[in-house]
């Protein structure tokens, strides 16, 4: 019996069989404004010839699965002949859910997995629990760890002790990749139309300033940064490319993860929320949490992220405790790798709910067994 591991995120879905490699695919549908009635799903994005007039249809809203139409279509495509060719009667599935998922969504997912797709067995779990499992697998002397999961919709801080999540310590910051992108979009569209040359350092001395070449979909398919040697500091560029000049936006936008108040969101940033979360835990466990901070999720890929989190947490933590912040090599797929390890675990059979169990007992058994 094979196991399919699916980390169902709001932006990308990380999917793969537990004995194979993981694929990262967009979890949405695309439609073109120009070509009608042709819908592309997930990875079919590469097939589109004219990417300039696209718009997205996302199944997630604010981090929770609300649009089952679109999600089912994406899953149909992923489980079908072109992608993973799933044989439902012989496959169990490990699928991730957001923290504190609503009961109606959980019930819908049960129904869809067991009644529509008819998987043999299913395990619904939080993505952070998979990351925690993976971390404990590597460091089996550690008892506690605290996972920072910073993704598209929001950022969660989840403490784990002996493999169980501590619900009282879970903290959610409503800043995610989506907010950062929207904010950048807004300030660029305003600042680029003004002739602001307020760079405090002019021209050559300014090490932060970078020029970004915009794609025009005919000769330049994808945007890129101009290398420093080619940058023109005085006057305009002679070539006909459209240029975005970025100076303080380069660090001001990711700074919102550390200080959401910069933009008016009255919440703590990541380092403060980490310390806040740990302080809610029993005193004996606190030093263990400080020593095992794990960064996962796409937003942690900003350069220098790990060092910045370490510096800030070190400043806020009591001096007796040791602080250690770990960033895995691939933060996006870390939870998926945890799912893969879990599927190979001998206890796996007891953690899943089989289809027969579900048909006998209904939603009740899923509520009991799964710790969402």
């Amino acid at each position: 019996m094979t196991t399919l591991v699916l980390d169902n995120g709001a932006y990308t879905a990380k999917i793969g069989y537990s004995h194979e490699k993981v694929s990262v695919l967009p979890n949405c549908q695309f439609r073109s404004k120009t070509l009608r009635l042709k819908t592309y799903t997930a990875n079919q994005l590469d097939e589109i010839k004219d990417p300039s007039g696209l718009f997205y249809i996302l199944p997630f809203q604010k981090g929770y699965l609300v649009n089952w139409d679109v999600q089912r279509k994406v899953w149909d495509h992923l489980f079908g002949k072109e992608m993973f060719k799933v044989d439902f009667a012989d496959t169990s599935i490990v699928i991730t859910e957001p923290y504190f998922n609503f009961t109606s969504i959980q019930e819908s997912m049960n129904e869809i997995l067991f009644e529509e797709y008819q998987f043999q067995a299913a395990l619904r779990i939080n993505a952070g629990s998979l990351s925690g499992h993976r971390y404990f697998q590597e460091n089996n002397s550690e008892l506690c760890c605290i996972v920072v999961d910073s993704g598209f919709s929001f950022t969660h801080i989840i403490p784990y002790c002996r493999g169980r999540k501590m619900k009282d310590g879970i903290c959610r910051i409503n800043v995610g990749g989506k907010l950062l992108t929207n904010h950048l979009k807004e300030i660029i569209s305003y600042r680029m139309t003004q002739f602001i040359s307020y760079d405090r350092l002019k021209g050559e001395e300014n090490m932060v300033m970078k020029d970004y070449v915009l794609p025009d979909f005919s000769s330049i398919k994808k945007g890129f940064c101009k290398p420093r040697e080619e940058m023109n500091f005085t006057g305009k560029y002679k070539t006909g490319e459209q240029i975005l000049r970025l100076t303080n936006e380069r660090f001001a936008v990711p700074e919102m993860l550390f200080h959401p108040a910069d933009i008016g969101i009255q919440e703590m940033g990541i380092p403060e929320a980490l310390v806040n979360s740990i302080n809610k835990m029993p005193e004996e466990m606190q030093p263990h949490f400080y020593n095992n901070i794990v960064l996962t999720g796409g937003n942690t890929l900003f350069p220098g992220f790990r060092d910045r989190v370490y510096k800030e947490v070190r400043a806020l933590a009591p001096t007796e405790f040791e602080v250690s912040v770990v960033q895995p090599q691939n933060p996006i797929c870390y939870a998926w790798e945890g799912g893969k390890l879990l599927a190979e675990n001998p206890d796996f059979e007891e953690m899943v709910v089989t289809r027969d169990d579900y048909e006998e007992n209904g939603h009740f058994i899923c509520e009991e067994k799964f710790d969402i």
């Binding site: 609300v66 089952w68 009282d168 200080h259 703590m268």
Partner: protein, 153 residues
């Protein structure tokens, strides 16, 4: 190019001043706009669906298709609620223990930093009319020309 005197002298009786409550409302609406999931409603949804249904001569095939279709419709009616409706359904105010609402991060203990709305550098001053921040008189001039109270949020 305007002199700094011209930029500074905005006749106070001609400018509308927003009060605190209105400023707060505008700010909240701006933040909500940032939370948009970056998707638009399907512009093709209003077009009539092109039904390309050729006559089926195979009985089994037809009954299979029909079964799939009714299932799909049933799901469509049931599972199309938006986020706000689902959150209200959960009725979290009556439950004890940690839940979605209690897990939200608390306000920061550090003082809030302010940045100029025009150039992004740290700002010390606030626009009298709309409450936006600016850092220098040049930025104030740009703000008055282009943005101040110029659109509804």
């Amino acid at each position: 190019c305007k002199t700094s005197r011209e930029m500074r002298s905005q006749d106070p009786s001609q400018r509308r001043v927003l009060d605190n409550a209105t400023r707060q409302r505008r700010l909240t609406r701006q933040l909500e706009a940032l939370e948009k999931d970056n998707f638009q409603d399907d512009p093709h949804a209003s077009l009539p669906q092109l039904v390309k249904r050729l006559p089926q001569f195979d009985e089994n095939n037809e009954s299979g298709k029909r079964r799939k279709k009714t299932r799909g419709d049933h799901f469509k009616q049931r599972f199309r609620k938006n986020f706000q409706a689902l959150l209200e359904e959960e009725d979290l105010s009556v439950s004890e223990g940690p839940n979605y609402l209690t897990a939200c991060a608390e306000p920061s203990k550090l003082p809030q930093r302010h940045f100029c709305a025009v150039c992004g550098f740290p700002s010390n001053y606030t626009c009298v009319s709309c409450g936006a921040r600016y850092c220098c008189v040049r930025c104030l001039g740009t703000h008055h020309e282009t943005r101040c109270l110029k659109w509804t949020v």
